[in-house]
Amino acid sequence: MDKKKLAKQLGVIALIIALFIGLDTGIYQLFIKRVISHHSPGMQKMSVEVGNYVPFTGSANVFSEDGAKKLEGDIPVIDGAAALLPVYAGFVQSIYPEDSVIFNGEDYDAKSAMHYTNTRGAYKDIVDGNADIIICAQPSDEQLAYAKEKGVELELVPIGSDAFVFIVNANNPVSDITIDQIKGIYSGKITNWRELGGKNVPIAAMRRNKNSGSQTALEKIMGDTPIKPDYTALFGSPIGFSFRYYVTGMLAEGGVKILTINGVAPTTETLADGTYPVSGNLYAVYRKGETNENVYKAVDFMLSPEGQKIVEKSGYIPIHQL
């Protein structure tokens, strides 16, 4: 036996095994470790599990006004953003007939008057006529263009609001940011936390899917400044964005922190007096010229003190003072 040859062969085998171990360890550290489930009960509570928000099931997550008058006749199909599911589940439980909601254990039946998709799906459905009312944040330019292309005009009625917040990992020493810095980060001009008084670590600027409610909100903040993709995102320390309600329940967990903007924290007071600079309305959206009078009755209920209480109990800020 040629010992040199054997050593060479064993060396090649060891090298290939080491390469695979290195590759898989790298994938785990950079990719999987960040998304593997560390769900604490607090985080799980904030995850929108559709089964936890089914009206008429006695769910403690659905807040309703039991004395409200129920709709009769042609019941409008309602849909909306994932984050706003608690709000419209509460509306449905308050004014929809119980037999109009059909949930099959995993999702809503096609014949159900309540559906659950997300912002992108809901705006498509209202334009295509598959939904009659949707509860969402403002539409993106693309969604408005789609409506125009289909000859549909949308009526947007504000029913509540919430702060748009920027979040970082709780260990990040940076606590405050300005609108210009946000624009700098998402346009690729600011790339290191050191430039914001933090550690010498690249900024991983996280984004959402195009046409999602929060991505559209970011686009509005950016204005004419283009959002550039962050190709080094995996190696940096992240910044992300969401609506306040989505995040607040998790603050007690210690995993994330909401940045103040220009030194102002997003509270009910700073939103009400306008000192917190970034907020967004929640809208009830329907097609202009809608002939189903129940659509208008439903929207009237959403704007009534009872409807506004549901907005507030679901974690958002009512559009009318209660």
């Binding site: 040859k5 054997l6 062969q9 064993l10 090649v12 085998i13 290939i16 095994i17 390469l19 695979f20 590759l23 898989d24 994938i27 785990y28 990719f31 999987i32 470790k33 960040r34 998304v35 593997i36 489930s37 560390h38 769900h39 985080m43 904030m46 995850s47 979040i167 970082v168 990992n169 709780a170 260990n171 991983a204 996280m206 959402r208 929060s214 320390s237 992240p238 910044i239 992300g240 964005f241 969401s242 989505y246 995040v247 998790m250 967990e253 995993g255 994330v256």
Partner: protein, 45 residues
Amino acid sequence: MKDKTFVIILAVIMAVGVAATTALLIYGYNLWKEISIVEMIANWG
């Protein structure tokens, strides 16, 4: 070690390695689809 044995061992190691890496990527991708941006930032110290 005979060349044939060496090649078979290499092929087995490569197959196992590629399968493990693929499984890891599929596992990660499925987690990635489900996790919210908030949870991801909380995990990402």
